[in-house]
């Protein structure tokens, strides 16, 4: 029986990092995720596990500290919220270009600009389409509970190291702030330097005698070789799309309509399904767990069986574009969302399904 704790989503991220054996955390305070850095500082894991926790001077510095640690083969992470994540895009592009693994948590708040500190899902484009310059992707996991905030820290690192690519937890202010029951793991030891040196020949772990030195860089000035770098990175992404799409289906077996929603919107849709089914509407939920790679194939299959889909997201309509691409205009697909930090009610979601999909032309 695992230990049970009552925690905020943000605290769960911090606790998971310590217990998973993360080597380093570099972060900068920003609402609504400052509890992560606060919890880590209060727990002071260094004497216990050797995990380094450092408050940086900016998000720009945080992500570049992550680069330095990741290039040493260490498990390093940072967390922030939307405006801070925007500042990290340069660093993320370099990390993806240098093919380094790391974990970034974005507890999304409303934008654009300084926006609001209230929850939002308006960073979908930024997270799933690259975000910074150049052709790259982040592996994006969308937790919809505090337990998943905890679990996806380890999963995120596993995927990041599997593909040598940054992984992101795309949460939102609701998931970051809400308190729920969490099963926590025992403390796992951090990787030893010997293990890292043996396992990751790409990492700067100190030059081995009689072997070439390790250079970690995203620079390749020769166009032919730079194209090869890009092709290698893209091949990796095709592998990831093939092997690591994750999603959850709820009441889809007999469904005529499907909500497509992730994170806290998926939680709202669960209630909306109950309300809809009480009214006789056969509606289910497809919850993407990986936003990239996106569950395109299952949505395509569902599009042959159902009459319509409603993408429910706290944005002006971002993920809906991927749902439309997946369903190939076979069925009606619409978006419903609130933004600016407003969380839609289940009733609003049901009404949107009725007016935009069932009653819509």
């Amino acid at each position: 029986m695992k230990e049970l704790r009552l925690m905020k989503g943000n605290e769960a991220v911090a606790e998971a990092a310590i217990r998973f054996g993360v080597d380093g955390y570099f972060g900068y305070p920003i609402t609504p995720q400052s509890e992560i850095l606060e919890h880590l500082m209060a727990e002071n894991p260094y004497p216990k596990t050797g995990m380094v926790v450092l408050q940086a001077e900016s998000e720009v510095a945080s992500i570049n500290m992550v680069y330095g640690g990741a290039a040493c083969g260490k498990r390093v992470m940072t967390t922030s919220s939307s405006p801070g994540i925007s500042l990290m895009q340069e660093g993320l592009s370099y990390i993806a270009g240098a093919e380094l693994p790391c974990l970034v948590v974005n507890v999304v708040r409303g934008g654009p600009g300084l926006g609001t500190i209230q929850p939002s899902q308006a960073d979908y484009f930024q997270s799933t389409k690259g975000g910074g310059h150049g052709d790259y992707r982040l592996i994006v996991l969308a937790p919809s509970s505090v337990q998943e905030m905890y679990d996806f820290v380890g999963l995120g690192f596993d995927l990041a190291f599997k593909y040598r690519n940054p992984a992101m937890l795309l949460a939102d202010g609701v998931i970051g702030q809400v308190m729920e029951k969490v099963e926590v793991d025992d403390y796992k030891p951090r990787w030893t330097d010997e293990y890292i040196k043996k396992s990751f020949p790409w990492a700067t772990t100190g030059k081995n005698p009689n072997q070439p030195h390790v250079i970690v860089t995203s620079l390749e000035l020769d166009s032919a070789r730079q194209e090869q770098v890009n092709l290698r990175i893209q091949a990796k992404y095709r592998e990831c799309e093939k092997n690591d799409v994750r999603f959850e289906m709820l009441h889809c077996d007999d469904a005529e309509y499907i909500f497509v929603a992730y994170g806290s919107s998926a939680r709202i849709c669960q209630k909306a399904i109950e309300m809809g089914r009480e009214k006789g509407i056969k509606v289910g939920l497809l919850r993407p767990i990986t936003l990239w790679p996106f569950p395109t194939q299952i949505l395509r299959e569902l599009s042959y069986k159902v009459k319509g889909m409603l993408a429910v997201e706290m944005s002006a309509g971002q993920m809906v574009e991927d749902v439309i691409l997946a369903t190939e205009n076979r069925i009606k697909v619409e978006h419903f969302g609130r933004f600016g930090g407003i969380i839609p009610s289940p009733q609003e979601v049901v009404t949107a399904l009725e007016t935009k999909i069932i009653g819509g032309k």
């Binding site: 510095a61 570049n64 992550v66 680069y67 640690g69 700067t204 100190g206 250079i215 620079l219």
Partner: protein, 253 residues
């Protein structure tokens, strides 16, 4: 050649094995090659090649990683001190150094520079100041002198419009996190030897774990300054050094 004269006792100079065999891309007369060599020699002499991790910048020395035969990471423009922080914090037993030019360290990376020094990161920072952006074709740098012509100050740097040359090294010496802050040059053999001593000290300081060691090297840019190498060095002495005087600025015992 008479091979018989190749004997240890006849050795007057040997190229350090901490430099790779790659041919450097630097312009003839450029100081970078000399500064690379000094770092490499210090690493060799301290016997720390296998315990050193470097961070290369963006700028002319972006390819420093092709020449210095240690494990090395390439940073985004200005971010080398942040990378170095991440490395040193996670590998405190390693010798970590960053290598940056003036645009990298004193313009786009000012925040990372100041805060790494203010935290007293136990690293060695090498700062090569030639008052110009060399790689991008000779634009104005934060350290460009008043009246100095560059491609973005073609009529000379106008202080009122373009701001003042930034003496960031003096600024960093004010921070309690720095333990050794010095300004050196490599345009004369005697200065090369002095500079090497300073770099050696800046690396040795990491054993003390007391704070940041910072070595500025005032250097030249023949191409950007549009001067032949000898004249460039003369220009450096007459114009750069009055603004950026050589010597130790801070040395905490």
């Amino acid at each position: 050649m008479n091979e018989s004269i190749i004997k240890p006792e006849n050795l007057v100079y040997r190229r350090t094995p901490v430099l790779t065999d790659n041919v450097m891309h630097y312009c003839p007369g450029c100081g970078h090659g000399t500064i690379h060599r000094l770092i490499a020699e210090v690493i060799e002499e301290m016997g720390i090649q296998e315990q050193t991790i470097g961070v290369a910048p963006v700028g002319c020395s972006v390819l420093a990683y092709n020449y210095l035969d240690v494990d090395i990471q390439e940073a985004a423009h200005g971010r080398a001190p942040a990378l170095a922080t991440g490395i040193k914090r996670l590998k405190p037993d390693f010798f970590v150094f960053s290598y940056q030019g003036d645009g990298d360290l004193a313009a786009i990376g000012t925040a990372e520079t100041i805060h790494a020094c203010n935290r007293g990161e136990n690293i060695t920072m090498i700062f090569v100041n030639n008052g110009i952006y060399g790689m991008t074709g000779g634009q104005m740098a934060p350290t460009t002198l008043e009246g100095m012509k560059t491609s973005t100050s073609p009529y000379g740097r106008d202080i009122k419009m373009m701001g003042n040359p930034l003496k960031i090294t003096e600024l960093l010496a004010q921070l309690p996190g720095t333990i050794y802050v010095t300004r050196q040059a490599v345009y004369k053999p005697a200065l090369v030897r002095k500079c090497k001593t300073a770099i050696r000290k800046a690396f040795e300081n990491q054993r003390l774990n007391k704070g940041t060691s910072f070595v500025e090297v005032v250097s030249n840019c023949n191409s950007g300054w549009k001067l032949p190498p000898v004249e460039a060095n003369k220009w450096l002495e007459e114009n750069m050094l009055p603004m950026y005087p050589l010597g130790d600025i801070k040395d905490v015992k």
